[in-house]
Symmetry: C2
Subunit: 208 residues, 2 copies
């Protein structure tokens, strides 16, 4: 297909595709005898992944390049590539937590079956949340970590089951990215809406 | 207790407490014969709630006043007060979704047992997420709403069970607020960490 068709199939404007080609995020097309450049399914798959990284993941171009190199590296396991993607998706603005609180959070999480825990990023967010619950929360809430840790593991199993069957590494990374970001927005919104449903049932004034 | 003790017990600085008194968010203390002002448990409970609304919920003072009026209104059910609090906690920056997509999202959510759905806010976020999944997501993801809707309902049941037993309306609203905001940060972080755990199990290269 021509560059215009590549654009039509992905919604990525032609000048953006040309920029990705110049930046090496997309391999060059094949120059045909008619002096036209042809692109194939491989370009389409790669462009879809780049689009998801940039538009949904808001991953900077330099990190996109690193991630694509990992996707293309046959020695690198898919698990390791997804871990790299997850780090690229982590917001920069997670506030650092107290190191003692982080250590304690890691210990509690390990006891709850969490593995491969990073020392930064979301572990800090867990530590901060636990400290805030301790400071502001009702005593009833001290068991919240245990309940939430179990539910979050269920969600991760749903998420991994969704992507594990895809097979093709490029499409898997793309689906994992979309699922991570869009799934988070979906989950947060559904939890808030579910509060309204369950609150009506649990606390609603009968016949009111 | 004196204003300094009220400050010590809550961590709210004395000038901020004086500001809340002037704004009517905290009832005046009792002026004793020694010409001192005394505060009691009632002030402490109210100040804790105001602190949670302002510091954790980032609710503007005018909305805090409305919410406190609702808490103090004996005719108003706790369910209705919590609904008001949830609306106050909703971020302003939820992008509006296409009205047809919102209608379709509401229909799908109703079929999944969701009740008391607002027409704005998080329903829009669900509609946007579904549209993005439709546009970018892998076909495997089209059932994500159903799975997530069930999990979110489980989470809401955990959350409501945590606050339903508290009894005192002020402490219930405070706990619900802390649980909504801090619980969201906790859940988002745990889901990301659980991805690392489950990904290692599902996709990890054995012996690698």
């Amino acid at each position: 297909m021509r560059i215009g068709e590549l654009s039509g199939a992905t919604g990525v404007p032609v000048p953006t595709i040309k920029y990705y080609l110049r930046e090496g995020l997309l391999p060059a097309g094949e120059r045909t005898h008619a002096n036209q450049v042809r692109y194939d399914e491989r370009h389409l798959r790669r462009l879809r992944l780049v689009r998801a990284l940039v538009e949904i993941g808001r991953v900077p171009i330099s990190r996109v390049r690193e991630l694509l190199a990992a996707v293309d590296s046959p020695d690198r396991g898919l698990d390791s590539t997804l871990g790299m993607m997850n780090r690229a998706l982590r917001p920069d603005d997670i506030e650092p937590a107290d190191p003692d609180e982080v250590r304690s959070a890691i210990e509690r999480l390990r006891a709850l079956g969490y593995e491969n825990l990073p020392e930064q990023g979301y572990v800090q967010q867990v530590a901060k949340a636990l400290a805030t619950l301790h400071r502001f929360g009702h005593p009833n809430m001290q068991g919240l970590l245990e309940s939430y840790a179990a539910v979050a593991m269920t969600i991760a199993e749903i998420d991994l089951a969704t992507v594990a069957g895809i097979g093709d590494p490029e499409a898997t990374v793309e689906a994992a990215l979309v699922g991570t970001i869009v799934g988070e927005a979906l989950l947060v919104a559904l939890r808030r809406l579910a509060h309204g449903t369950v609150s009506g049932r649990v606390l609603g004034t009968k016949g009111g």
